[in-house]
């Protein structure tokens, strides 16, 4: 998918009367070719016997990375989150949306810690919540997040700056 064009309008067709302003590239899975888990696997391979380790290094150096991308947008009616992975072995497209009118609470958390970066968002309505990302590995066990840890994308800080105020404004400041 071409990253230069808007991603969400290329996937969903907005009806007339729903105004789409811009989208934010808020999250993605790790961009590292050799994350810590892979390094540990390679070290074990090297220690067991050198050849498996070398094969693992070559495999992880040359393979196409399985990176998921998450985009979010706010229209005058809805908050939309779109996540996709175009790798042939994964290849999924998730679309979630909540009506701005129904949102009762919002939580956003972005961390760039020493070991790990993470993006987590929860938009709550009376009935359902939109969960994006996980707050830590423990939250995955508790089932409190989505199924993967996401790293903050280039627009993530700007997104939470804009989003919190926009949702409230569109919910309360209407004619």
């Amino acid at each position: 998918m071409n990253q230069n064009q808007s991603t969400i309008p290329s996937f969903i067709q907005f009806r007339e009367g729903e105004n789409f302003d811009r989208e934010f590239y808020i999250a993605h899975t790790t961009l590292k070719r050799f994350p810590l888990g892979v390094i540990m696997l390679i070290l074990v391979g090297l220690a067991a016997y050198v050849v498996p380790g070398v094969i693992l290094i070559v495999y992880f150096a040359l393979r196409k990375q399985k990176i998921s991308h998450g985009y979010a947008a706010i229209t005058d009616k809805r908050v939309i989150y779109y996540e996709f992975n175009s790798h042939p072995a994964v290849n999924y497209q998730h679309m979630r949306s909540l009506h701005v009118e129904e949102i009762t609470g919002m939580q956003f958390r972005i961390d760039h810690k020493f070991w790990r970066k993470s993006f987590w968002m929860r938009l709550q309505t009376d009935e359902v919540a939109m969960l994006v990302g996980a707050r830590g590995y423990l939250s995955l066990l508790k089932g409190r997040g989505s199924t993967k840890i996401l790293e903050p994308g280039p627009d993530s800080v700007e997104f939470i700056q804009v989003m919190s105020g926009e949702v409230a404004a569109r919910k309360f400041a209407k004619v």
């Binding site: 050198v50 609470g105 961390d111 760039h112 700056q161 309360f172």
Partner: protein
Amino acid sequence: MSSLSSFVKLSNKETILKEWAVLHDRGGFRASDVLAFLVLWFVFGLLQALAGGIIMQLFQIPIIGDLLRFLAPILRILIFSFWIPLLAALAVLAFNIYSRPVVNGQVALSNWRLLYYERGEGRLSRFHHAVSSVNLKDIVGVHSDYQEGFWGKKNLAITVHTKHKDGISLRIGHTGLLGKLPLVGILFRRNTMGPDATAMLPEAFRLIQEHKGRVADTSVSY
């Protein structure tokens, strides 16, 4: 300008009525860093042993082994030196402490919402941002629990309940898992209570009650 509105872009119809600085985590060195250092030293020691095993195997491969013999003095230091894992652990820890952000947290009351906002911007691109908000008209109760224990241990828990499944929950003061250890826990305690932490609640109870349900004027348009 309030510190919240310097970060969150609020609508010009939303005004901050009051703001309280409830969290101040000063970053820098913590006693738990000593534990982290010991763990890192142990892990780097294991990695050194692992690397030693791998290099010994490489020596047995014909051409690579011949090449490695030229590097034998350096490899000997790398594999057997006591200082390599120690210095590596110190370097990682120093980097961590140097880049750790000072985190400040504010509770803010606007004409529509109650917001909690944490912000920390450290060196070397490290940062932490968290924003939570609930609508004032949905708030059904605020629970607070303040404890002052032996040797000055202070804990403040605030939970804002709404009629939906959301809410805001804060824990400030001497929090953290290591601080709960008997006897030695005192070594790991650090106070994260902000200047307005205890002063906030009486005022917040009153203001939430006063402004609850005061949504925007119907003449307002977005």
